[in-house]
């Protein structure tokens, strides 16, 4: 008897994988799937292009085409990209179970599984070899579709980064489904059972998570569940992850794609603009001349409470946690020609009195509107409305408790009416430490830069975005407003203690314009903290909370690891369990 060759540690291709690849690629099935798959994707891409053009023509003035207008091209590119990638996700979800479920049950059906199990292969080698073969085929499909993506990338509206992250989400799904198919294949007596099981789980993952998301939302609103964080189901749904990964919905334009719907379940965009939100409650309305004001409030899962102030349907919101002491949430209207100005906001329930310092005359006192807040469904805050007239410029807002002790104080900027009209700007909520008077402001308020940055690219919509801060305090949000055409204006609103803000608009004919804002803090400590925010210029960047797509991919990949381990455990021999018996034996 010759001894088997001494075991040497060196790379040897997994025999199961090698055979599997040979067998797969020899059958015409693989080629057929590849051809049909690419034909479908190309067809969908072309269709989305035609539909996008039609939509653009309908949207544009004068029915012009996209030629010569990079923004329209970007809108079209964005649409084509989103349609393509969501279709790709669907195709992979359709193909992956079929490509993986025959792996081990097929061997069992042919009687070859036990032949493998009595060799020196470890169970994990069998499972991993099978998984790698299915996954290899799926990755081949993904790579084969890359040229189609370049079409969308050339048109713009989408960065290579978006495409890459989107493909990562699809890859994570492919890994998970292949692992699931392989695992179910390892326990199923018949391939059919494994296939049915895998498709069922795929369906649940794609659509069942939408239902559980709805259930979570209902449970929250009816009080069964509490918490303002994102519903768990958001992280499980591949469409939501895809929407999150591929960047802002409307970076390139306003053509709705299938992803627009998926986006509704990621409340990660700035409230009230592109993201998910509860319908606001109208707290009060007012009229002055030909301007109709509307004050609204709503709960926002991510941001707490949002108060909004709209003048003739133009307006915006401020969001924060006014329940917490020291926070005053206010939405402020610009002063009109007559000088009148409205400030609407929310404060914590223990605020009994608000004092508004004015540039002229005596301060005015305002009572918080507790009943109105309760009527609107808010148990832990009070609203307040301050109206000033003429030359009475409000300068500071101070909240006092029942002992007339100061809870919080908030400087109020003068908001001149901006060209383009109708905008309402939001002052940032300023936390003030309890019991300490607000520090006297040694510097004059920095005058808003009338034209902080300009671009020769005509922009079509306003934007407001918070600067993501990755260094500790201060936590003041900084907003930059880019006003409508014809002249681009960037107005930076900063807190007096953060005097220096640089803003730069970088435009690119292909990709959507990006705004880079650098925040330089000189006083107080930390002495210098540079924060950079980047995002598609016209629309909000996402909030800095956990990215849905990263969590989603991590969940799927970890689940895959568990499934591989479980499948390997299933194939270990010898085992004592009841043996699978061949049923049709006479």
């Amino acid at each position: 008897m010759t001894d088997p060759a001494p075991v040497r540690r060196r790379f040897v291709m997994n025999p199961v994988l090698a055979r599997e690849i040979k067998e797969r690629m020899r059958s015409p099935r693989a080629t057929m799937i590849l051809v049909v798959y690419l034909a479908l994707l190309a067809g969908v891409l072309y269709l989305s292009y035609r539909l996008g053009l039609l939509t653009l023509r309908a949207q544009m003035f004068g029915g012009g085409g996209f030629i010569g207008n990079s923004m329209s091209a970007a809108a079209l590119g964005r649409l084509m990209f989103e349609v393509l990638i969501i279709f790709l996700l669907g195709l992979i979800a359709f193909i992956a179970p079929g490509a993986s479920t025959g792996a081990i049950s097929g061997e069992r059906e042919r009687g070859t599984l036990q032949l493998l199990q009595i060799t020196l292969l470890r169970p994990s080698s069998i499972v991993l070899g099978k998984l790698a073969a299915s996954l290899g085929f799926l990755l081949l499909l993904l790579v084969a579709s890359l040229p189609l993506f370049t079409v969308a990338l050339i048109l713009g509206g989408v960065t290579p980064g978006h495409a890459f992250r989107g493909l990562l989400v699809v890859t994570a799904l492919a890994i998970f489904l292949a692992a699931l198919g392989t695992y179910l294949s390892s326990i199923a007596r018949r391939t059919l059972h494994a296939t049915i099981g895998t498709y069922a789980v795929t369906f649940l993952l794609l659509f069942g998570t939408v239902l559980t998301y709805g259930a979570e939302r209902i449970a929250r609103s009816s009080g069964f569940l509490t918490g303002t964080e994102r519903p768990v189901s958001t992280y499980l749904n591949p469409f939501a992850a895809l929407a999150d990964a591929v960047g802002d919905p409307s970076a390139g334009g306003f053509i709705p794609s299938p992803l627009t719907m998926a986006r509704q379940i990621i409340p990660s965009f700035i409230p009230g603009i592109g993201g998910f939100s509860e319908p606001p409650v109208v707290v009060a309305t007012a009229e002055e001349g030909d301007v109709a004001w509307q004050l609204t409030a709503r709960n926002e899962p991510q941001a707490g409470i949002c108060v909004g102030l709209q003048a003739n349907n133009f307006g915006s919101e401020a969001c924060g946690m006014p329940q917490e002491k020291g926070q005053i949430l206010l939405a402020q209207s610009p002063s009109g020609d007559g000088g009148s100005q409205i400030i609407f906001g929310a404060v914590s329930r223990d605020t009994r009195k608000l004092v508004v310092d004015l540039s002229e005359g005596r301060p005015i006192e305002v009572k918080p509107l507790t009943e109105e807040a309760e009527d609107a469904g808010f148990d832990d805050i009070s609203f307040f409305v301050v109206t000033t007239t003429g030359d009475q410029r409000p300068t500071t807002l101070t909240a006092l408790d029942k002992d007339d002790k100061e809870i919080a104080s908030h400087p109020i900027h003068d908001m001149p009416m901006m060209p383009g009209g109708g905008m309402v700007d939001i002052g940032p909520p300023i936390p003030v430490p309890l019991g300490t008077p607000p520090p006297p402001d040694p510097r004059p308020l920095p005058a808003p830069d009338p034209a902080g940055a300009a671009s020769d690219l005509p922009l079509m919509a306003p934007a407001s975005f918070p600067v993501a801060q990755d260094s500790g305090p201060p936590q003041h949000p900084v907003t930059a407003d880019i006003m409508p055409a014809p002249d681009v204006m960037a107005e930076i609103v900063t807190d007096p203690v953060l005097p220096e803000v640089k803003a730069e608009i970088v435009t690119d004919p292909v990709f959507p314009p990006e705004v880079k804002a650098e925040l330089v803090v000189t006083d107080p400590v930390p002495p210098r903290a540079a924060v950079e925010a980047q995002g598609p210029g016209m629309f909000p960047v996402r909030d800095p909370s956990t990215p849905v797509w990263v969590v989603h991919c991590l969940i799927l990949v970890s689940a895959s690891v568990v499934l591989v381990a479980a499948g390997s455990y299933q194939l270990r021999r010898p085992r004592t369990e009841f043996k699978f018996r061949a049923r049709s034996r006479t």
Binding site: P4, K22, Q114
Partner: protein, 321 residues
Amino acid sequence: MPEPVEPVITITAMSKLYGATKAVDEMDLEVPAGAVYGLIGPNGAGKTTTFSILATLLAPTSGVAHVCGFDATNEPYEVRRVLGYMPDAFGLYDDIRVTEYLNFFASAYRQPPAQRRSVVPDLLELVDLGHKADEYVESLSRGMKQRLGLARALIHDPQVLILDEPASGLDPRARQEFRELVLELQRMGKTLVISSHILPELQQMCTHIGVLEAGRLLAEGSPDDILSKIGQGRAYRLRLASPGAQAQALEILERSDAVSGALCEGAECHFVLAGGEDQAAGILSEVIGAGILVSEFAETKTDLEDLFLKITRGVEVEPGD
């Protein structure tokens, strides 16, 4: 070669239960080195279960099985190195050539490519498939597939070879070739364990025969020993035309002193008769006399079924394996 006296396979008080069913019941078995051990028994007697345990696919409920001194349950990888197993199903891949098939299993046994290149053609020559090396597996005839399966079981040059029902479904010529192959392997010093449910299939090539029934080893010895245990009894088949009369017929058969075993299933009864033609005629007339309609009454050749009737006196056998 291990010491000839040292048994290559030792099974001690081994039982295997499937739920409440005892597939193997306190079995003791020893296979000496160099033997060709034939294990016979009807379907469900526990042959495949015993083989699965030896091949490290199944763990016994109790008892131990050793192959070349290694415990099949606790040292499966050591056992796998010395044991080749050919199950009753061929276990072939479709889209693969004969050489590739063997190469694949060689790599699964961790053979380096250089070794594979010499081992695979040698094996194909041994099983007389050298001329089919580049054919697709699916194009082979049944007998060739069987021989390819044998080559696969031999790929890692095991000392022990376990063949589960290797001759079933083969035509006489293929069976003859297979027998020669077994003898060749024996000459090479391998120990073989072969199962079958047909005694004549085994008696020409085996050095030892064990009779397995309901998970127990009922008889063991050389083929001649086993045949002599059957004695002079002759097997008869009685086919009844009256429905529902088998209980009555069985009663008549069992009453007779000349009948040493009887079993009725459906419309057919089998029994083993110790006497001659007279007794046979007597039983037939007794059955007809009892008003039972008989459509067939004939002597059958001595095969395993008869052996079982002889030895087990008609113990009912659960079908299924």
